[in-house]
Symmetry: C2
Subunit: 205 residues, 2 copies
C-alpha cells in the first residue's frame, strides 16, 4: 500500500530526539513552543500534525528517553555475577548517562519532577512510576542473590533498594548541578559498603 498525500519534510525520529534535548535541558513548562520550533527545525503546525500537542510530544519524549537512553541501567544491573557488582555497574552507567558531553546533564526523568504541566496529572504519574520502578528493579536483583545464597536471608531488600534508588536520584541531581564526572564516579565505589554487611560469608552484622 503506497503512501498518499504530500510526504513529510523532516525525520520524525530526529525531531523527537531534538525535542527531548530541549525538554531535558529546560523542563516541560520552561520549554515554549517557540523553543521547540527552533530546536526541532520545523514549524508549529507540523509539530501539532505529527505529535498532537505539546503534552503528547513530551509524553513521547519520555518514552524515547526511556528506551533509547536509560536502557543502559537495567542492562548494567544484570551484567555482573552478583547484585553488589550489578548495582555498582548500574550506578556507574547512570553517571555516564547523566554527564555525557554535548547533552543536557542529569536524568531527564528526575529533572522533569518540578516542571509539571498545568494538566500534568497523567504524565506526572508516568514519571513517578518510572522513578519508583528503579527501586523495584534493584529489589529484584537483590532478591536473586538472596535466593542464590549470596546474600543473607534476613537482608532488608526493600530498604536497601530504596537507599540505592535514593543514591541514583542524588547522582542525577549532582550531575545537573554540574558536579564533575570523576567526582560522581567515586559514589558507586563507596556504595558497595552498603551491601557488604549482608553478604552470606560474613557473620558480623
Amino acid at each position: 500500500m503506497a503512501e498518499r498525500g504530500r510526504p513529510r519534510n523532516f525525520d520524525r525520529a530526529q525531531a523527537l530526539d531534538r525535542a527531548l534535548m530541549a525538554f531535558w535541558q529546560n523542563g516541560f513548562a520552561a520549554t515554549s513552543m517557540n523553543d521547540l520550533v527552533e530546536a526541532m527545525g520545523i514549524n508549529s503546525p507540523s509539530i501539532y500534525a505529527a505529535f498532537g500537542s505539546k503534552e503528547a510530544l513530551f509524553a513521547e519524549a519520555v518514552q524515547h528517553y526511556h528506551t533509547a537512553y536509560a536502557d543502559d541501567l537495567p542492562a548494567a544491573l544484570k551484567s555482573a555475577p552478583d547484585a553488589a557488582g550489578g548495582i555498582e555497574a548500574m550506578l556507574e552507567a547512570a553517571v555516564e548517562l547523566f554527564t555525557r558531553a554535548n547533552r543536557p546533564h542529569g536524568c531527564f526523568v528526575v529533572n522533569s519532577v518540578a516542571s509539571n504541566a498545568p494538566n500534568g496529572i497523567e504524565i506526572e504519574q508516568t514519571l513517578k512510576e518510572l522513578r519508583q520502578g528503579r527501586s523495584k528493579q534493584i529489589a529484584e536483583r537483590l532478591t536473586e542473590d538472596v535466593r542464590g545464597g549470596r546474600l543473607r536471608d534476613d537482608t532488608p531488600v526493600q530498604e536497601l533498594s530504596d537507599l540505592y534508588a535514593a543514591i541514583l536520584q542524588g547522582l542525577a541531581q549532582g550531575a545537573r548541578d554540574g558536579l564533575a564526572k570523576e567526582r560522581l564516579l567515586t559514589i558507586p565505589r563507596h556504595s558497595r559498603a552498603l551491601i557488604s554487611p549482608w553478604m552470606a560469608d560474613k557473620n558480623s552484622r
Copy 2:
C-alpha cells in the same frame, strides 16, 4: 522615630511564609502572581510594594526557608558525639522536614532545581550553593572525627560527603514523590554502613 504614612495592612513575615508554601509546592515558574495573591491574601500591587518583584519574593522565600526550616539539619549534624551519629541524625531530621503534614513534601531548595526563572541565573546560583553547601558541612564534620582519631587518617572525606549529600537529595526526591515517612526513615539507618569501614578501631578496609 515614628512611622509615617498609612500602615501596612498585613503581616509581612506571614505573607512571606505563605509565599514560600506556594513556591515550595509548585516551583517558581508554575506559581503565578494570581496564585501568590490567593496564597498570601493580598493584592499584587501590595506584593510588589513589599517585595519588589516575583523573583525578589522568591529569593526572600529561599532565605526564609533556609533560616526557618532547614536550620535543623546543621544542628542535628553537630548534635551527636561522633560523625556517624551526627550524619544519621541529620538524615533523620531531613526526612522529618521533608514529610511534615500540612506542608509541601520534599526539600524546597531541591524542588526548585528545574523551576528556573527566565532570568534565573542569580537565584539559581544561590540555590546551587545551598545544595552544595551541605556536602561541605558534612565534610567538616567528618574531618573533625579524623582529627579526633575516631576515623582513620585515610578516610576519603570528600567522597563520603558527596555520597551522603547525594542520599540527602535522594531523600528529598523520594519525599516529593510521596514515599511514606516510615519507609524513608530506614535510609538513615542503613547509611551508617558507609562510614563503618573507616572507623579507627577496625583494621579491615
